[in-house]
């Protein structure tokens, strides 16, 4: 705590130091040349900073200030500079005092114009892609919203693909992202509270929630935790996530991240809180539970029976991805009695020439698999396919034929690899990827006893986790039977009568009962 205070102080001093000494209280001066001087000093050595004087009656009357590339220079030319330079102000240019007023009226073609009176506000505004206009003799400056920087088009998020469902994803532009949300929830209850984080980056962060559904205690906690953050820059939502999660020493993410606006909207409707960060397509959704790691967006866009079926498959895949290699090792080296005779014999037959113990064999293969996986992300696209083919051949066939690994082991590792991608949330799956190795070592040392120890430890850890006061394993532990409709099974839409106990605040009722389609519907 003490360290933090000290740091704060230093930062504060720095800020004061960097301001020109002869300016008091940060107010704009009525003398335009002073303002020009101050601005030029602030933006010293900033080659992308443009301060453009406009001469009226041969005198410098107006300065247009913007950062090149951030603001839409073309629109600026058309709606502002052109009429000023060539047509002149319609009311004549006599009275200097009125210019500001006239300008403000004249800039109606620009959607958002604000007046600021502080130099720092002006600088901030210009850095946030506005065009600043200062007029001689005025102590107010105008900020015209003429954002015009390059942004990516809306694309389908590559990490969360659905078969059926909306295909738009968040982009790096915060405004676009909020618009994607607003388009889904057209209610004044959808609140988007802005907050700026980052000493230098001054990143816009938005806390989105639905007023009336959200649990106030969670919302307050989010606000206070966000306000506590002191960081130089926020380049990705992960920067924030690590500051505001409950248990930093856990392999499991306690805040969900998503690129999909529909997931965020659905979470908001459940009473969760979303944090949108500028310059990243990944929004944070909290609180997160263990089970939301298994809920894919597609679950809610398919028929509920299939969604339930696929969810059960997913749970099986999860256990396969954690336990399969370790169970294989434990069975073959400690408890071969438990393997059916003919299977044991075929395993024994293929292991006959393998020089390594089973644990080493699995570790080797798992290492190769994870290596391939990591290399696949890094490699340039044209090389990638070549490497994966070689990798597959080397691991799958050559290693077996050379007698370095056994064929069942390749099956085990490949199955595990496939299974580990069955978890819909990528960052959630990463946790299990690490646990797999721990289990493997335990199984190699202690057999089933080790697996059981590992499983118990894992369960204890998971049950102890909390995300913003919500137990990570809820609603299974603690058990809330009403909320079990969206855990292992995905109940039909008309059965979601209540919101989740832990997430939502006042408004627990979700949809009215009795909406199950039937011939008698609507008769009553």
């Amino acid at each position: 705590m003490k360290k933090m205070e000290k740091w704060k102080k230093i930062q504060k001093n720095k800020k004061i130091d960097s301001l020109p000494s002869h300016i008091n209280k940060d107010m704009l001066s009525s003398e335009i040349s002073t303002n020009e001087k101050v601005l030029k000093e602030s933006f010293q050595n900033c080659s992308d900073f443009v301060i453009r004087p406009i001469y009226i009656s041969g005198e410098t009357k107006i300065f247009v200030i913007y950062v090149d590339g951030l603001s839409d220079a073309k629109t600026l030319d058309e709606v502002f500079l052109k009429p000023m330079m060539f047509e002149g102000l319609p009311e004549g240019m006599g009275e200097v005092r009125q210019i500001g007023q006239i300008l403000k009226q004249h800039l109606v073609a620009i959607s958002q114009v604000t007046t600021v009176s502080k130099m720092s506000e002006l600088v901030d505004g210009v850095l946030k892609a506005n065009v600043g206009i200062i007029v001689d003799g005025e102590t107010d400056a105008l900020l015209a919203d003429l954002k015009g920087y390059e942004k990516r088009g809306i694309e389908e998020p590559s990490t969360e693909v659905v078969i059926r469902g909306p295909r738009d994803g968040f982009i790096e532009n915060l405004r676009t992202n909020t618009s994607l949300l607003r388009r889904r929830i057209r209610s004044t209850s959808l609140k988007t509270e802005p907050i700026t984080i980052g000493e230098f980056s001054q990143t816009d962060v938005i806390i989105a929630y639905i007023d009336g559904i959200v649990q106030d205690s969670i919302l307050d906690e989010v606000r206070t935790r966000l306000k506590r953050i002191q960081i130089d820059g926020v380049l990705e939502s992960e920067y924030i996530e690590e500051f505001i999660e409950d248990n930093p020493y856990s392999p499991f993410p306690q805040i969900q991240n998503t690129e999909r606006p529909d997931i965020v909207a659905a979470s908001l409707l459940e009473g969760k809180v979303a944090i949108l960060v500028d310059n990243t397509p990944f929004a944070l959704v909290l609180p997160m539970t263990f089970w939301s790691g298994f809920q894919a967006a597609g679950d809610y866009y398919e028929r509920f029976m299939y969604a339930t079926f696929i969810r059960i498959i997913r749970f099986i895949l999860l256990s396969v991805s954690i336990f399969f290699p370790s169970i294989y090792v434990a069975l073959t080296t400690y408890h071969p009695k438990l393997i059916p005779t003919s299977l044991l014999i075929s395993i024994a037959a293929s292991r006959e020439s393998v020089p390594f113990p089973a644990v080493i064999e699995v570790l080797l293969m798992e290492f190769m698999f994870d290596g391939l996986r990591e290399a696949g992300i890094r490699l340039p696209k044209p090389v990638g396919s070549a490497v994966s083919i070689v990798g597959a051949l080397v691991i799958g066939q050559a290693a077996v034929q050379a007698g370095i690994v056994s064929a069942p082991m390749v099956i085990v590792v490949a199955t595990t690899g496939i299974a580990s991608f069955g978890i819909p949330r990528y960052s959630f799956g990463n946790a299990f990827q690490m646990i797999r190795y721990v289990m493997l070592i335990l199984a190699g040392c202690l057999g089933f006893y080790g697996i059981v120890i590992g499983f118990i430890a894992l369960t204890i850890h998971l049950v102890n986790l909390r995300s913003y006061g919500v137990p990570y394993f809820s609603p299974v532990a603690p058990l809330i039977p009403r909320d079990l409709k969206d855990i292992v099974i995905r109940a039909p839409r008309w059965a979601f009568n209540y919101r989740r106990e832990f997430f939502s605040g006042r408004n627990k009722k979700r949809i009215p009962k009795g909406q199950k389609p039937s011939p008698k519907q609507g008769e009553e």
């Binding site: 009695k337 005779t341 014999i345 037959a349 292991r351």
Partner: protein, 389 residues
């Protein structure tokens, strides 16, 4: 934080220093699939084992064909089984692994000498499975049988196991049944018996002259676990029916000049003991069964209720005779209660059992047995009257 680290180190070293490390790779184990026990005069017992050769089973090399045997036989002589096991290990490059042993073969001579003092090892070894099918090799030795390969099964020891399963018996719990019977006073143990011979000759299976084996019934033991005789397959089935182990059975009877077969798929039995005032013991055995007539080589038209009833009665009559014959044979020839009638008394009239149990075999032999067979023919098929008209 420091304390946590110390705790972590202590706990994790606890895991790895317990010393109980029994990790053995599969390629360091000899997979032992069948055990044979034979009596050798003077020297004691001969333990033999069938061990799989995994490399010959490699599916990549075409699955053990080429007429090569994919198992090998190993045997050693010792004072008792543990002694013999130790002697066997000297001939074995890998640690013998008994966890997959599903078959226990007992030579006739060994069985006749009595198993009472020789079976402790099968219970005490933690790796050895009680889920074992034990056989007595009739007129033969266990080692001879272990040396035979079987054309259908990759693992030859699977063959007797599956034969027993097809015949419908205690299957892989037969050894467990045996042990239970050996430890209770109201039932005497029996084990399925198997016989080596040229059973495949002239039937198109296997090479000419190659020996094979078949299930021939059951071996009956007395109280000292000594073999005292055999029952044939039909008698064995009767015993299993009385003990309610049998699930399905085909019955065939002769009527006039033809024969009829009934395939039972629901079978039941009930044994009711009765002890009269003069200590005379009487058992009433009610056997039931339901099934379909699957073969009818008589002139009777079974679609007629009259004929059906006749056949049903005929079945009841003939099988009653057969079961009575089986029980009488056991009572008179062997005098050991393999049917577990003593246990029935123990359960139903416990206070009387205390007086009876000490000399049960004698009392079992003297008991009166009444058999009621009540079969129901559910279906006769729709193919109409028989071809013979």
């Amino acid at each position: 934080m420091n304390r946590r680290l110390i705790c972590f180190v202590i706990y994790s070293s606890l895991l790895f220093t317990s010393g109980c490390w029994d990790r053995v790779e599969i390629n360091n184990r000899a997979i032992w699939i069948a055990t044979g026990l034979d009596a050798i005069e003077k020297e004691g017992i001969q333990l033999s084992g069938q061990i799989i050769i995994p490399s010959s089973m490699n599916p990549q090399n075409g699955g053990g064909g080429n007429g090569e045997k994919n198992f090998f036989l190993i045997s050693a002589i010792g004072e008792n089984v543990t002694d013999a096991t130790q002697n066997i290990q000297m001939k074995l490059s890998r640690k013998a692994f008994y966890g997959q042993r599903r078959v226990l073969l007992i030579g006739e001579k060994f069985a006749k000498l009595g198993l009472k003092n020789q079976l402790d090892f099968t219970i005490k070894d933690p790796n050895a499975s009680l889920r074992t099918d034990a056989f007595v090799v009739k007129k033969g030795t266990a080692i001879d049988m272990l040396n035979l390969s079987y054309p259908l099964e990759n693992i030859p020891a699977d063959a007797p196991l599956k034969e027993h399963f097809q015949a419908g018996g205690t299957n892989d719990t037969s050894y467990l049944h045996f042990l239970k019977a050996a430890n209770s006073k109201g039932i005497r143990p029996n084990l399925p018996a198997i016989e080596i011979g040229n059973f495949q000759d002239g039937e198109g299976v296997g090479k000419k002259g190659e020996k094979s084996y078949q299930l021939t019934g059951t071996a009956v033991f007395d109280q000292d676990l000594k073999l005292c005789g055999y029952l044939n397959m039909d008698e064995y089935r009767d015993q299993l029916w009385i003990m309610e182990i049998l699930k399905k059975r085909s019955l065939t009877i002769l009527i006039e000049d033809g024969n009829v077969s009934l395939d039972l798929d629901k079978m039941g039995s009930k044994v009711i003991p009765e002890i009269s005032r003069n200590k005379k013991i009487k058992f009433t055995i009610a056997l039931t069964g339901e099934g379909a007539v699957i073969e009818n080589n008589t002139n009777l038209d079974l679609t007629q209720p009259k004929n059906l009833e006749f056949i049903q009665n005929e079945f009841n009559k003939q099988y009653k005779k057969q079961v009575v014959h089986t029980i009488t044979k056991v009572q008179t020839e062997y005098g050991t209660d393999i049917f577990g009638f003593g246990e029935v008394i123990h359960k139903q009239i416990p206070h009387q059992w205390r007086d009876l149990m000490n000399d049960w075999d004698k009392k079992f032999s003297d008991a009166d047995v009444t058999v009621k067979v009540n079969l129901t023919i559910r279906r006769v098929g729709l193919s109409g009257p028989t071809l013979r008209k």
